[in-house]
Symmetry: C2
Subunit: 137 residues, 2 copies
């Protein structure tokens, strides 16, 4: 079954990511050779390759817990585009540089599903500035 809204499909994507649940992840996606998934530094996955990509990523059983900030929604006809900022953390809870992700959802006969996920690393953090020179006092 697809989802009632694009947001429901997106919530299911991040839930599956957090719990490393391959069946839940597979159920989020449009089942078509039109679908594609582009993760940074990972090979492009199209259609049936998407489930295999996530099986590899979930092989350790460890999920990915990301904080997500909503940047922009574009809804037009049977497609919805969502730009989000994903904020990963280190194992000790320190924030890492954000990653931008674009989701494209499509309304299928059974509801909304994810057609495209692409994410891109953001800019590197600025170099630490050298403190201004002050008088030796």
């Amino acid at each position: 079954m697809g989802f009632a809204t694009p947001q429901d499909a997106e919530d299911a994507y991040y839930d599956a990511l957090e719990t490393a649940d391959i069946q839940a992840m597979a159920a989020v996606w449009v089942e078509s050779e039109d679908a594609f998934c582009l993760l940074p530094m990972a090979p492009l996955a199209i259609g049936g390759q998407i489930k295999r990509l996530w099986q590899t990523l979930f092989a350790s059983g460890r999920g990915f817990d990301l904080q997500v900030k909503h940047c922009l929604w574009i809804e037009q006809g049977e497609l919805a585009i969502h730009l989000v900022e994903e904020c990963p953390q280190t194992a000790t809870g320190d924030p890492l540089p954000p990653i931008y992700a674009t989701h494209i959802f499509r309304h299928e006969p059974d509801g909304w599903r994810l057609l495209v996920h692409q994410n891109s690393p953001g800019p590197l953090p600025p170099p630490q500035t050298v403190p201004e020179r002050t008088a030796w006092a």
Copy 2:
């Protein structure tokens, strides 16, 4: 003026990129706060920020000549999604690892324009394999 087809808009994008022509680049884009541009390691640019981003990238006057391979087209209503592989080269013509780019075009009242550009670095090339050990002969 927008373009007669999404492909015409895409051709104009790569022509502007090659010639570092800021007016031609600005003319490719949807003029709306919905538009966004995500280049690897660059800050997110939304709406009016897009032209300023390209002004910065074109400041040296040098363009970017990319070979482009077409991977996937999805056309649905007023939106068209195109996944391409961009193949950059070094200054001496040696190929660099490909970059995947997603374009989303929207049909505006005056024709097709670019709504979203996002690109992501592909996987790193595999490490050079160590040749098999052979007898010292």
